[in-house]
Amino acid sequence: MSDPHKFLEIRHAQKAYGQLEVLKDISMTVDRGEIVAIIGPSGSGKSTLLRAINDLDPLTSGEVILDGVQVNKDLPHRQYEKHINQMRQQVGMVFQHFNLFPHLSVRDNVTLAPKMLKGISDAEADKLAEQQLAHVGMSERIDYYPSQLSGGQKQRVAIARALAMNPKLMLFDEATSALDPELVEDVNLVMKRLAEEDMTMVIVTHEMDFAASVCDRVLFMDGGVVVEEGPPDVIFKNPTQERTRAFLSKHLSNVQK
């Protein structure tokens, strides 16, 4: 269980929508504290793979194992629901479009799940909200509603909401690609800070600079397979696969080249 390697392990992940094979036998591991970027063209299956990790998009076949426990266990419906809710509490997820709860204040967005699932008191919840929001630089907005926030602020609240459950793994699906360029950096800073705190993270991103500066390892996906993976230096500067090179030539900024 405490093996820092294979903290997250995906074995032979396959996913099909009817005839369309979206994931074709993908296996990968993530170490504890490691930060892995998944890059690749649109439609290559990045989101599908990420969402399979907390079983939001169940795999057709294959296994997801987190800290020694299989996430997508084969259980009778009721037991499975209990099990998966338990597993999901340990995995934070951040979406491209934030998905904040618009009918709840920033404070309640952050504390709803801990209150409901961990039974913490109102006082503890307030403290938790203050802590988590301070962490993402959103303390002054604690009593605002999501509709009163900018995109970058919404995304930072969404990160605080996920962190409030004290997850051992964080998943990011293009967390900054719906943001105005000038707001991207605020969110990136929060993610960098998490990286420094040794959070284990899997990050789907189109921002190559960010991947290069923050991640320990980069996976390049295309057509439902992992074409190539390695440290950012190798993937971005000396990729071995032609498909990787072709993709990067279109997506690397001048700084990187």
């Binding site: 907390n54 939001l56 629901e81 809710n85 338990q86 999901r88 509490q89 995995v91 934070g92 997820m93 979406f95 479009h97 998905n99 904040l100 709860f101 618009p102 009918h103 709840l104 709803l112 799940a113 409901m116 699932l117 509603y145 509709s147 009163q148 969404a158 909401r161 996920a162 459950m165």
Partner: protein, 218 residues
């Protein structure tokens, strides 16, 4: 003979009491229709077929037949089955269920229209499907149907006059009683109309308040 409104103040008690009964019937039926509407919507969307079907039949019954007939059935008809409800209760049940069916249609549509990302975000945090519906999806759906449900509630206020036929001495029936004694139908029906109008204004004010309060939460 001309109009003579000076007879009206003599029936102040009757008039006030009638107005209060109308408000009581309307508020009680509105609450029943609101919570009943949510419950019916959840059943229609998520319950297994064996439960859903009888409820579908029930909805059809309440939408496809006159409210007047439903009130007769509940007040007079149920007596034969040994269920003898006070007129007020029978009236509230009839009005409440009738409008619950209409509200449920609105709420169903609104539940389906809530962004899928809301359920996903809630499930991702570890909430169960039921918890996510209760705390995330349904509150947003309800918020979205406040304006049309408000219109339904105004219709409910007007239809509350129908419970006069089963003997609830609300606004309309109490006016009729006063008319029986004075033979002044115009004066008392006009007074009744004015009272409905003011209750209506009150309801609209409450609705606008609710809408203002929920404006931030979209």
């Amino acid at each position: 003979m001309g109009l003579d409104f000076s007879v009206v103040p003599g029936f102040l008690d009757t008039i006030l009491l009638g107005g209060l009964w109308t408000i009581a019937v309307t508020v009680a039926s509105a609450l029943l229709s609101f919570f009943g509407g949510i419950l019916l919507a959840v059943i229609a969307l998520y319950a297994p077929l064996v439960i859903r079907l009888p409820f579908r039949f029930f909805a059809w019954l309440f939408m496809g037949t006159p409210l007047l007939l439903q009130l007769f059935l509940i007040y007079f008809g149920l007596v034969e089955l040994g269920i003898d409800l006070p007129a007020f209760v029978a009236g509230v049940i009839g009005l409440g269920l009738h409008f619950a069916v209409y509200s449920s249609e609105l709420i169903q549509t609104a539940i389906v229209a809530v962004d899928k990302g809301q359920m996903e975000a809630a499930r991702t945090l570890g909430l169960s499907r039921g918890q996510s519906l209760r705390r995330i999806v349904i509150p947003q759906a309800v918020r979205d149907v406040i304006p049309p449900i408000g219109n339904n509630m105004i219709a409910l206020l007007k239809d509350s006059a129908l419970v006069s036929v089963i003997g609830v001495s609300e606004l309309t029936l109490s006016s009729q009683l006063a008319i029986g004694r004075t033979y002044r139908p115009f004066e008392f029906y006009a007074t009744a109309a004015v009272r409905y109008y003011f209750i209506n204004l009150g309801m609209e004010a409450v609705l606008r308040r609710i809408e203002r309060k929920t404006a931030l939460s979209r």
